[in-house]
């Protein structure tokens, strides 16, 4: 093979990786907000599932992808509200309520799918949008600027969420309620309200991540469409040390591993594909095991806030 064709393969792989990373970025940045405020939402997978179904249903039935995406966000908000009521107001154990939200989302989505769609249906899906001029740059244009609009949105979400967290008054509140809610309370910050906001924003983004999978990537819906991506997103938050840039790095690394294993499967090299499929997951476990350091964790994570609790 020539040098140019190697470049071609790598460029393709990177472009695929960027596209694959979008749903992880949506879901993981959302989960990051939730965790920064002190709420571990394990229901991401279920919310993504419901978001994916909702987006697909409205796109398919009304032939309107935008409507589908908006409805997926609405459903995400509602699921977030449920998680917030159970874990913040009722102070239920966050691990358990998150699993409940996961199962609820999964159950509703697959039931509705059976009732209203039934079998394999497909839609045309979101089309790629080549950005003028930038899209023409050799290699880089293909990697970054020839994607659908939701990929750009996901990439923009990273600097935007960084700015919100570190440069706005609201971001300062979020960082405070996730580490020392009592201190935040004594400064007149409404801990409960801030946590509600974060959980709801997080779930909305999870819904968006789900929508991406059904209307911008697979262009169909099936019960196993999410395939654990919601849980991977939670792992990516830990991997990224609760920082937007860290989350982005994790999402890209994982997606690159995925793009590599896809290429490997079709490259014709004789190797059991079952093992290559496992590769990205093994990679993330190994990286997590070596990078996990407790000290940057929001210290109040999973602890419900009770002003009158006498500790």
């Amino acid at each position: 093979m020539t040098m140019a064709s190697y470049f071609q393969i790598i460029t393709n792989m990177l472009a695929v990786a960027v596209a694959l990373s979008a749903p992880y970025i949506f879901a993981a940045i959302g989960e990051m907000f939730s965790q920064k405020s002190g709420v571990l939402n394990l229901g991401v997978e279920g919310i993504m599932m419901l978001g994916a179904f909702t987006a697909f249903y409205f796109s398919w039935a009304y032939d309107n992808i935008l409507l589908g995406i908006v409805m997926a966000m609405v459903v995400g908000i509602l699921m977030g509200l449920l998680m917030a009521i159970v874990s913040i107001t009722l102070k239920a154990d966050q691990g358990i309520s998150g699993i409940g939200v996961y199962m609820l989302g999964w159950g509703i989505a697959s039931t509705l799918f059976r009732l209203f769609i039934g079998g394999v249906q497909s839609i045309s899906g979101l089309q790629d949008l080549q950005i003028p001029i930038l899209g023409q740059i050799p290699y880089l244009g293909k990697i970054l600027f020839q994607h659908n609009i939701m990929v750009y949105l996901a990439l923009l979400l990273v600097p935007a969420s960084w700015y919100i967290l570190y440069k706005t008054p609201w971001g300062l509140k979020v960082r405070a309620v996730g580490t020392t809610p009592r201190a935040a309370d004594t400064m007149g910050i409404n801990v409960i309200k801030t946590r509600y906001q974060c959980v709801i924003i997080g779930s909305m983004l999870a819904g968006l991540g789900g929508a991406f999978l059904s209307v911008a990537q697979a262009n169909m819906f099936a019960n196993d469409l999410i395939a654990g991506r919601g849980f991977i997103a939670i792992a990516l938050v830990y991997f990224g040390r609760w920082e937007p840039l860290g989350v982005l790095k994790g999402a890209l690394l994982f997606s690159l591993a995925n793009a590599f294993q896809r290429w490997f499967q079709i490259s014709g090299i004789s190797f059991p594909y079952e093992i290559t499929v496992v590769f990205p997951y093994v990679l993330i476990i190994v990286v997590l095991a070596f990078s996990y350091k407790k000290f940057s964790e929001p210290t109040a994570l999973t602890v419900p806030y009770d002003r009158e609790f006498k500790g």
Binding site: L172, R175, T179, T180, D185, M187, G188, E308
Partner: protein
């Protein structure tokens, strides 16, 4: 927002499930005066102040400012009214900077941008004006306790407080820092600031306050102008009876060295060096006090000796055997007793019954256990005797331990450790947060053990306690022993300087 000229709390009652924390409590403070709120732990001082600050809602009673009734339902209300509070456990976010901590309470008009530079400048100015210097860009986690306290006060002033509540502000300060704070308080009230100063330390109270209000069991029991009372009277009112703390009788003969720590190095939980070459020798029948501002390696010192923490370098000889990095069980079996700092979670299993905690170190041994089966009859009778003997107040020996008061939990631990006839005992903050009656008792028991030839390493931040009990006092500073003084040559000011890291000569 009007200036607070007078602040009253009238007939305040606050009930928690199973306890009445405040019952018909009344206080009144005017601008330009310092009122000391005195009482033992659990007397209801902090609850009362949390009501004033809007953290708790009272069941009954009113708060009046300048004679007018006000509703304080959240800290935001309190801040808006001009009430600032410095909590005993500082309310700061350690992962944020000083400026960010102050900015948390600001209602920024522009929701998309905050100008932290303006905030930092104002903090600098406030600091210079009020003699409270602190670096606005430092992270809270890098600051000393004294500096953090300054940040708390600046925070209150920044948000326009003209009435300050200081909850146990001297608990973690050196004597010199305490003197400075008292001077500072006397200075600021000249600008018509009202101050409530909460403490259980009598001497400070008489130095700082204009009047004293004593709470006991959640009720007002005594109120007086400071210049018309004295320390003894206040102590009596606080405890509800005469109190006489035992003091050590001078002893010149000690036994052999039983515990010898030589050049020990160990890391803290955060991975930094907490002990940097500590050396100590404890003799039989001696109380060796360890003085120091908390966080200078006391916790780690106790933990390396008792086997809880890894030693990176150095030797610890206990009964002429190096016990460095031996198992905890082994060290216990050699006869080393331990009263840990966190008495509820490290000293006991909180959910266990009193009797289960009493035998926690012996349950595997005869006569508590035979052929791997516990002997309930023997355990019952042993525990009943112990509870009576050590005056542990509990409904019965099947009560869960966390339901006991701090003093009684401490007596439980003390009885467990002493009844095993230890050769040496490490006692970390044995009287922290316990009532004065229990302090009296615990001190008697420690002295009794000393007279029975037990070597005791006493770690505490209470200088009175150290001076009353110790035969020698070692001062720990940043993981090193700075100096060791004979108790009769040690004074509070000498210790205070050493605790701040200043060694004369």
């Amino acid at each position: 927002m009007n200036k607070i000229l007078s602040l009253e709390m009238v007939n305040i009652t606050k009930r928690f499930p199973g306890v009445i924390a405040n019952q018909d409590v009344n206080i009144k403070v005017n601008a330009g005066e310092v009122m000391a709120l005195l009482g033992e732990n659990g007397a209801g001082k902090t609850t009362l102040m949390n009501i004033l600050y809007g953290l708790y809602n009272p069941n009954e009673g009113d708060i009046l400012i300048n004679g007018k009734k006000v509703k304080i339902r959240s800290p935001q209300n309190a801040l808006d009214l001009g009430i600032g509070m410095v909590h005993q456990h500082f309310m700061l976010v350690p992962s944020l900077t000083v400026t960010e901590n102050v900015a948390l309470g600001i209602n920024f008009k522009n929701k998309f941008k905050m100008d932290l530079k303006v905030v930092a400048d104002k903090i600098k100015k406030l600091g210079e004006k009020n003699n409270l210097n602190v670096d606005p860009n430092a992270y809270i986690s890098q600051l000393s306790v004294g500096e953090q306290q300054r940040v708390e006060i600046i925070k209150a002033l920044y948000h326009g407080a003209n009435f300050l509540v200081l909850d146990e502000p001297t608990a973690a300060l050196t004597p010199q820092e305490t003197d400075q704070l008292i001077k500072w308080i006397r200075e600021i009230i000249k600008d018509d600031m009202g101050v409530i100063f909460i403490s259980h330390k009598l001497k400070e109270v008489t130095e700082v306050s204009d009047k004293v209000e004593v709470l006991r069991d959640g009720k007002n029991v005594f109120s007086v102008q400071t210049n018309k009372t004295n320390v003894d009277e206040l102590a009596r009112e606080m405890a509800g009876r005469d109190i006489e703390l035992p003091t050590v009788d001078k002893k010149n003969e000690f036994g052999d060295v039983v515990l010898k720590v030589e050049d020990v190095w160990a890391k803290s939980d955060k991975g930094t060096d907490a002990l940097k070459g500590i050396s100590l020798a404890l003799k039989k029948g001696e109380i060796l006090g360890i003085a120091g501002v908390s966080g200078n390696g006391q916790k780690e010192l106790a933990e390396v000796i008792t086997g809880f923490r890894k030693v990176n370098k150095g030797k610890i000889n206990f009964k002429d055997e190096n016990i460095v990095n031996k198992s905890i069980q082994y060290i216990i079996d050699q006869g080393l007793g331990f009263i840990p700092e966190d008495r509820l979670h490290m000293g006991t299993v909180p959910g266990f019954k009193v009797k289960e905690n009493l035998i926690l170190k012996d349950y595997l041994k005869y006569p508590f256990c035979k052929n791997f089966i516990l002997k309930p009859k023997y355990i019952e009778s042993y525990c009943k005797t112990t509870v009576d003997e050590y005056d542990i107040k509990c409904p019965n020996i099947n009560t869960p331990t966390h339901a006991l008061s701090g003093g009684n939990i401490q007596k439980l631990i003390l009885s467990r450790e002493l009844k095993r006839n230890p050769v040496a005992l490490v006692a970390s903050y044995p009287i922290r947060g316990v009532d004065i009656g229990a302090i009296e008792y615990i001190h008697e028991k420690l002295l009794e053990a000393r007279n029975n030839d037990v070597g005791i390493l006493l770690i505490t931040e209470e200088l009175e306690e150290l001076l009353n009990l110790s035969d020698r006092i070692a001062v720990i500073y940043e993981g090193k022993i700075l100096d060791i003084l004979e108790a009769d040559k040690a004074t509070k000011s000498k210790l205070g300087l050493l605790m701040a890291g200043v060694k004369e000569g």
